[in-house]
Amino acid sequence: MAGAALARRPMSIVEAIRQARRQAASYRGIWSWIATVDHKRIGIMYGATSFSFFLIGGIEALIIRLQLAKPNGGIVDADQYDRLFTMHGTTMVFLVVMPMSAAFFNLIIPLMIGARDVAFPRLNAFSYWAFLFGGLFMTSSFFTGNPAGTFFQGKLGAPDAGWFGYAPLTLVSHSAGHGVDFWALGLLILGISSMAGGFNFIVTILNMRAPGMTLFRMPVFVWMTLVTSFLIIFAMPVITVALFQIMFDRRFGANFFNVAAGGTPLLWQHMFWLFGHPEVYILVLPAMGIVSEVLPTFARKPLFGYPFVVFSGIAIGFMSWGVWAHHMYTTGLGSVANSAFGVSTILIAIPTGVKIFNWMGTLWGGAIRMKTPLLYAVGFIAMFTVGGLTGVTHSIVPSDYQQQDTYYIVAHFHQVLVGGALFGLFAGIYYWFPKFSGKMLNEKMGQIQFWLFFAGFNVTFQPMMILGLIGMPRRIQSYPEGMGWGLWNMMATVGAFMIAVSVMLFIYNVIYSLMRGEEAGADPWDARTLEWSIPSPPPAYNFAEIPQVRSLDDFWHRKYVENERGVPVPVVAGAAHDTEESHGDGHGIHLPSPSFMPLIAAFGLPLIGFGLIYDYALVAAGVVVLLFGIYAWALEPAAE
């Protein structure tokens, strides 16, 4: 009898979760978001979370700029300064640009390929929760990473080894607190999240395309997502191994980077940059994809040289594996290796240059409408070109010897990551906001916001180019008077605050437009791809009827035909394929059920992380939570 009673208890837990799941199925309220497996909602959560981290990383940047505005800055000491620039870099790369790209993958990819969701909706939710928990875990180190104790004591305890964490700075001998532990374990959790997303989007793109959507009828954004996802699943394991090696050295006294035992810190540099250079393209390829969608829409022309853009993206994906040592010229690899990597680095500029010419060719002769998304896209082309060309100057080995670890490097990678990746992402936000909110972003505010951002960006980072060339090293927390650096640093600080004001304006615009923006309608930009063929915001089931695709830019060709002079003219009303709305209310479409299991499984990960730092009992608890989540996930039906 006791056995029967014992057997009933776990049943009741399962029953409770089932019941919660059924309630979460109502498409409203907070629980419906927590249990959601809908790619659109997950995308919105990705976007909102990464934007919050963007604000945190931005505040870190502003403190850094205030500190450096004048010689002998005294706002933070060297120790705190190290922690700020480490977290600024790590946050912006892993918690802002990557997940914001993932937000666009989630929102756009299933709609662009004519699918009802991604291939693995619950795995998709798991990716999001692992990202959120990993980000919070790492950010919590500000308060918990102190060597003196586990709580905040007037000093921030974040990691202090720089965003690329060179050994031996990451070893206990050089960083005694828990900051680096949080950094390494946090990146491991974020890596799991990214890899799960990478697998999911490759399978989605290869397997879930609408009938007729052959690979070369896919929009360029879908192609770039595919290339990015492949880079993610192959690059992340490499950094995973390197992070495990750091953790073994730190926690268990292993010798991977211990010079006295014969180890070499250079191993870290090779492992990190073998991951790190593909990572650069993981950051920028999605933005290139977005720009390749925005330009044709606002030039009212097809993308110039579609196959060239696609193959250039693929070529970049392959070549990004053969350039990593250009980060390491000054480590003494020898002139043969340096020359080889110099050549490969120059070569990778070719596919990138091809794309830039294709984008300009798209604009050439187009009926251009200068809306905010296009401003950002054109800003991307201009600024990314500058960033790319400064990158080519680094590929020249003797020149790079002079630039290594100066502000010229800092200026270069901000030029490609802010002027490139972030401008592209902002283009995407302005472009697709109407699709997912049903409201237009205010155009006038958008234009002001762009110009303020653009000006602020150049006022911030062009002075850094000069600073680098006149010899200011990176990662110094203050500099004496009389170096001639004061003016340029002050300029950069003013520029940083201009960017901050423009970001505030952007937030105001979003809130204002959500409340009283004009209704967007299904296709406000007269665009070319399938997501614009359905209502804004899209219904839960996306497409009432799965579209049949007949050509590249299929939706455009449903709306326009070319007359004898090759000028597009609207299809006569009624002759067009009937619009999506006429197919009824999606009755009878089967959707996957909401689930709490991805959240529960992902919650096990930070528990394991805290456990490795503080108490192994917590590791056991985390493993139990993780296993419970995975088993319940595997056993619950995908749809009830």
Binding site: M195, I202, M208, P237, F248, G253, A261, G262
Partner: protein
């Protein structure tokens, strides 16, 4: 939201014709190649670079002769056991594809048993090495050896867990030849872990330092 609640349809055909889950497993294994590639690469980089004993094979270091810790015949036997588990894994899949559930259960259990035998051998080997003074901390050989083979052992352990879970499902009659894909996916993972061991066994044990 009634429209979302109708009965599940049969799985929609995919664009490539490959099942989603199978494609996911192949991608995962491709990604794992880079993971083990990183570990094996590190092992190779640090081979013969230990400062001080214990050494893997008989070594003269600073004029002193040291006995190697490796017991090649023993490890060869446990490698053979792991390879045989791939055979029983194939037989398990063949059984359920012929809808023979009894044979499925037997071969699943056999595969898990062989996997656990391999793990027991690894535990024994680790203990012996530890007694000989080899730890993660002792020297570069210890560091790279334990981390590489340890991560492989962790993969085998996960595989055993999957096999035992499938055995429980099979015992409850939940695995039929319609959803034999579950067995096939577990098999892909299991064979991959075996193949990785062939590489590790060759690189770590068989290619002797000169």
């Amino acid at each position: 939201m009634e429209q979302a609640r109708t009965a599940p349809h049969a799985l929609a055909p995919t664009s490539t014709g490959l099942d989603n889950r199978k494609l996911l497993m192949w991608l995962f294994l491709a990604s794992e190649c880079l993971f083990f590639g990183g570990l094996i690469g590190t092992y190779l980089l640090y081979r013969n670079r230990s400062v001080g004993p214990p050494f893997p094979t008989n070594t003269v270091y600073n004029g002193v002769h040291y006995h190697g810790v490796f017991d090649i015949p023993f490890t060869s036997i446990s490698a053979f056991v792991l390879l045989m588990s791939s055979v029983s894994m194939v037989l398990a899949l063949a059984a359920i594809q012929r809808n023979n559930r009894r044979a499925l259960r037997m071969w699943l259990l056999c595969t898990a048993f062989l996997g656990m035998t391999f793990l027991a051998g690894q535990a024994f080997e680790f203990t012996e090495f530890y007694r000989a003074g080899l730890t993660v901390h002792s020297n570069l050989f210890g560091t790279t050896f334990f981390v590489l083979t340890g991560f492989h052992g962790a993969h085998v352990s996960v595989g055993v867990l999957i096999l035992l879970s499938l055995y429980v499902m099979a015992s409850r009659g939940k695995i039929t030849h319609e959803n034999s894909l579950n067995i096939e996916l577990a098999g892909l993972y299991w064979h991959f872990v075996d193949v990785v061991w062939i590489v590790i066994f060759t690189v770590v044990y068989l290619i002797q330092p000169t």
